[in-house]
Amino acid sequence: MKVLVPVKRVVDYNVKIRVKADGSGVETANVKMSMNPFDEIAVEQAVRLKEAGAAEEVVAVSIGPQQAQETIRTALAMGADRGIHIKHDGEVEPLAVAKLLKAVVEKEGPELVLTGKQAIDDDCNQTGQMLAALLGWAQGTFASKLEIADGGAKVTREVDGGLETIQLKLPAIVSVDLRLNEPRYASLPNIMKAKKKPIDAHEPADFGVDPTPRLKTVKVSEPPPRQGGIKVESVDELVEKLKTEAKVI
């Protein structure tokens, strides 16, 4: 079985995000970038499947600027076998990513696509689902457990109020949640090996996909700074404020 893992280059989770002065987006110049943490979990799971003998090959794919190759290289150092880079400098929306991934899937023929449930930059949580719809494949989202057996995938999903276990037919898309595993460190020998692993370079046009955004960002702004609390004199006043000011009851 071949496993495809899309990985996204995002602002590192430790970085304090700053909004650009003109409100057009967030500052990414001179900011530490890393692999989306949910994608790291997906890579880890794919490598574990390979180590357990359930998968033969793990292919990491990233869509983004030249530096997205660094993200692919990180996946290779964790144990992925090879990479595919689709170079695109501007913003890419989930639908464009899903269309590009569909083309990669048709070319590569994986039986399983493991994605992070969402990227921590735009928090869209759409790509996996859109890809499943475009391909007409089964999907299991927010996986906290994954077992491959009898030509299918058993996925335990984290849903509101508990866990739901579903059985999927392969090929399938599985989007992974935080508790699926703890991603490994890339060891020094594997970092050295990653250098020799191939990364195929492509452009969106190679797959006949136009990644031009369909949405226009009107404005990006900082969340309002947290205000200090106040003391109320009576329960009546509290109820009143909850109704009229906080508007929660």
């Binding site: 290289r73 990180t74 150092a77 460190y185 890339a186 060891s187 970092i191 990653a194 250098k195």
Partner: protein, 386 residues
């Protein structure tokens, strides 16, 4: 000139940073308070660092090491150097000089060190021979196929963790360009060898948990097969292999500079006095600028020396400049970081007091700042006959 780290170096730095934050930082307080690395902590760090290939990372790949070049190793030292030195050193690297092992010595000393089965320590310094290494009194006298060793070594780091010692002893005198000088021979001596005893050294202000010892040799008889390199050529062996040790000190200091500067910068943003963050006051912000500059200078000098070492063109002066720049930058940055923090900087809630205490040793070991200046100035004067 390309100053950007390679892909492998970037990945190595990321991995090492995570290792330091998850495996070393959590034990720092214990080590500082008890002056010991708990055995189970040392074992876990050793195991983890071997899994990651950080153990013996600078040893050649064909010997089972990590095969890192000097520049990458210096970058690794920078990351590991962020943490307490005792914990940092638990991620052990065999002394480079062990690569001079030949024949059975390789099986007995070099390879077990790389595999993590044995640990070495290096004994050069004596109570009467510090900077003046050749002034050593510990002597080895040839007696048939053996050498008989007598003398005392002190300030011998981690002799408690070591299984054997790499000992330098005087084996005679020769005429040098500036008068008679001692000939030195290097020996490999196992702990427990008759006539060789180890006792605890001195309590000291720096590097808690990383101890120094006093080694005594009393008619200690070792066969000539224990000589590392050639008889009387101990200084050459040392010069061939120990130059990179100064880069290790420099790399370690860069890591602690990073950490102190990061803490001071964050504090300057978070701490408010007179109604604003203290970083808004020039008295604080200019300190940060000077700290950042000193760090950058030390980084460039150190990385250039390491790069030259990889090209085979590093001079004594290059290594001395790296060691001098990085250790003195650390002294400055640690001190200013505490000044920016005020009283909090001295409390053991923060790692700054540890960094500040440890920084003091860095300007002394592996050649004092004065010896480094001597080496640098010698490189200037000698070619002109001065």
């Amino acid at each position: 000139m390309d100053f950007s780290p390679s892909e492998e170096q970037r990945l190595l730095i990321e991995m090492a940073r995570r290792f330091v934050e998850e495996e070393l930082y959590p034990h720092e307080r214990t080590v500082e308070e008890t002056d010991e690395v708990p055995v189970e902590v040392a074992e876990r760090i050793k195991q983890k660092s071997r899994e990651l290939g950080l153990y013996a990372a600078a040893m050649p790949e064909e010997l089972g090491g990590g095969g890192l070049d000097t520049l990458s190793m210096t970058m690794l030292d920078r990351e590991l150097g962020r943490a307490s030195y005792a914990l940092h050193y638990t991620v052990y690297r065999p002394s480079n000089i062990l690569q001079a092992c030949v024949g059975e010595q390789r099986e007995k000393y070099l390879l077990p060190c790389i595999r993590g089965e044995k640990v070495d320590c290096l004994a050069m310094t004596e109570p009467g021979a510090g900077s003046d290494v050749r002034g050593m009194n510990c002597r080895a006298v040839r007696d048939g196929d053996d050498f008989v060793i007598n003398g005392t070594k002190h300030f011998i780091s981690h002799a408690d963790w070591a299984d054997f010692v790499i000992l330098m002893a005087a084996t005679g005198e020769e005429d040098g360009p500036r008068g008679p000088r001692k000939k030195i021979t290097t020996f490999l001596i196992d702990k427990g060898w008759p006539g060789f005893t180890i006792r605890p050294g001195y309590k000291n202000v720096s590097m808690r948990g990383y101890h120094n010892f006093i080694l005594e040799f009393d008619d200690c008889r070792v066969p000539a097969s224990q000589v590392l390199g050639e008889v009387d050529k101990g200084f050459d062996v040392a010069n061939d292999w120990l130059g990179a040790t100064r880069l290790q000190v420099a790399g370690t200091c860069l890591g602690r500079c990073d950490r102190a500067l990061e803490l001071a910068t964050q504090w300057a943003v978070d701490r408010k006095q007179f109604g604003q963050p203290i970083g808004k006051f020039q008295g604080v912000s200019f300190k940060l600028a000077d700290m950042a500059l000193r760090l950058r200078q030390a980084e460039l000098v150190t990385y250039e020396a390491a790069w030259k070492h990889d090209q085979g063109t590093m001079t004594d002066s290059d290594a001395a400049m790296a060691k001098l720049a990085a250790t003195e930058a650390l002294a400055f940055i640690a001190d200013e970081a505490i000044q920016i923090h005020g009283g909090m900087g001295l409390m053991n809630e923060l790692p700054l007091e540890m960094i500040w205490r440890d920084a003091r040793l860095e300007r002394i070991w592996e050649g004092t700042s004065e010896i480094q200046r001597h080496i640098i100035s010698r490189g200037l004067l000698r070619p002109l006959g001065g």
